[in-house]
Symmetry: C2
Subunit: 283 residues, 2 copies
């Protein structure tokens, strides 16, 4: 496995490696969710490239950039064990040199949900992903369903800007009790870890109601919100039952719908989601 | 020469053609300036692709989108005669399908000169050029020095977004009397055509003063403005003597400087420029 930091060394290395090439973009502190992406990429591609970059431009001024968990050595061991060929770990200066001033922005889709709560977040995401796409020029790129809106936004960017890259979405990986795996779970202290399952419980409440025939999106949202309110350590930021492509909140569920939420558990902001009709549950 | 309209047919055709691939993006109504780009691309690349697309998103609401001159048949003949391999002529719907919402924006550089006069213009340019770059995936792309700020903005985008494309800038081509070649020269009626040489005369005044030792940017700007004022059919929009990379207006010329201007001649808006130190004059 080659570990590279500069763009030029990356390009030199990739020129020698066979296609198709699969990219797994990450911010490090890897958990089994990330490794499942590498695993699928390994099965589908001749060359697997992972990137590790805690992208400052997708964090808001009051967010957790400085405390975001990092463990490069452990990440490299995990990636090596999954058969990764190349790891790119660019510096902040390599990605955003002095004078940097170009941004990629997806408009309508980023107005809702995470985009509404985290102004500028998706501009940072699409800009860094466009840079990663151009640096690596992969045939396929792998993202987790956990960040459902990110997936929708990146797919829109790929369509709109003619990127010749197939976006592969892999199911959310969960802990034994349903908590969606996330690097931010490392922030959870004491009782917060148990309380954090409330997102899963809320999604489950909506799923069970939907499977029993409930089609009012408002009722499904209320069910989720009511579940979150039962947990004293949790504070809901939003719940949504939205169209899976436009992300606009629905009145009635016809076809598929994306149930999603952001919840503070103590000081930790957690998100989770599933697709009512096609959603994959790994319990 | 293959003439293609859809993105998918373009990709199928390009997959068969040898590299390096050179792209000449145009809005059609081709003149010898465009053809000089094709000529250089033909010399340097195995495959030459030209695009013809009058990009609506780079025109302001009061600008000349609907009247922009078009002559596809003549353009195709000229491109064939220069040895172009593939011409891509996408429709507006192919480039901007319903739901399109992703924009590429270069910030600081687009605040000056043309960017100040034409809000949104460069956002349209960088977005369509990013789309063309991703659609064609060229190794080299060819642009004219005539649109000096466009060149600076595109180079910045290429650096910032990690496009692996070399930007080749070719000198401005001029008519016998110095008028820079432009598709918009077709708008000039009667006496306007003669009056339009005032841009060239103004640039020449600055060049002669510079070559005589003048280094005050203000004096050079005044010389250009004074020249434009001598022409009754001309109305100056701006003159600038700016840093060739940052495009910020200079106090003193040390090293190179970009002299540029926008001038209305009758109802036609014309631009021209040259680099004081390294600028190429084809007279």
């Amino acid at each position: 496995m080659q570990t590279l930091t500069t763009l030029s060394s990356l390009r030199t290395a990739l020129a020698e490696l066979p296609k198709p090439l699969g990219l797994v973009p990450t911010m490090g502190y890897l958990h089994p969710g990330h490794l499942s992406l590498v695993h699928v990429a390994r099965r589908e591609c001749e060359t697997v490239v992972a990137s590790i970059f805690v992208n400052p431009t997708q964090f808001g001024p009051t967010e957790d950039l400085s405390t975001y968990p990092r463990d490069l050595e452990s990440d490299l061991t995990k990636l090596r064990n999954e058969g990764t060929d190349v790891v790119w770990t660019p510096s902040k200066e390599e990605m955003y040199p002095p004078g940097f001033q170009t941004w990629v922005e997806v408009e309508a889709l980023t107005k809702f949900l995470e985009g509404a709560m985290r102004p500028g977040h998706f501009r940072g995401v699409t800009t860094v992903v466009a840079k990663l796409f151009n640096a690596v020029q992969p045939q396929k790129a792998y993202f987790g369903q956990k960040d459902a809106q990110q997936v929708a936004v990146i797919k829109q960017m790929v369509r709109d800007l003619n990127f010749l890259i197939e976006i592969i979405v892999c199911p959310t990986m969960r802990e034994f009790d349903g908590l969606a795996m996330s690097s931010r779970n490392a922030y959870l202290k004491g009782d917060e870890r148990r309380a954090a399952t409330v997102l899963y419980r809320a999604l489950n409440a909506a799923r069970i109601a939907y499977q029993s025939g409930e089609r009012s999106a408002n009722t499904l949202r209320h069910l989720m919100a009511d579940t979150i309110r039962t947990e004293p350590l949790a504070k809901m930021q939003y719940v949504s039952c939205a169209h899976p492509v436009t992300l606009k909140d629905l009145d009635w569920v016809e076809g598929d719908a994306l149930c999603s939420m952001a919840v503070y558990v103590g000081g930790t902001r957690l998100i989770d989601n599933f697709l009512l009709e096609s959603g994959v549950w790994i319990t």
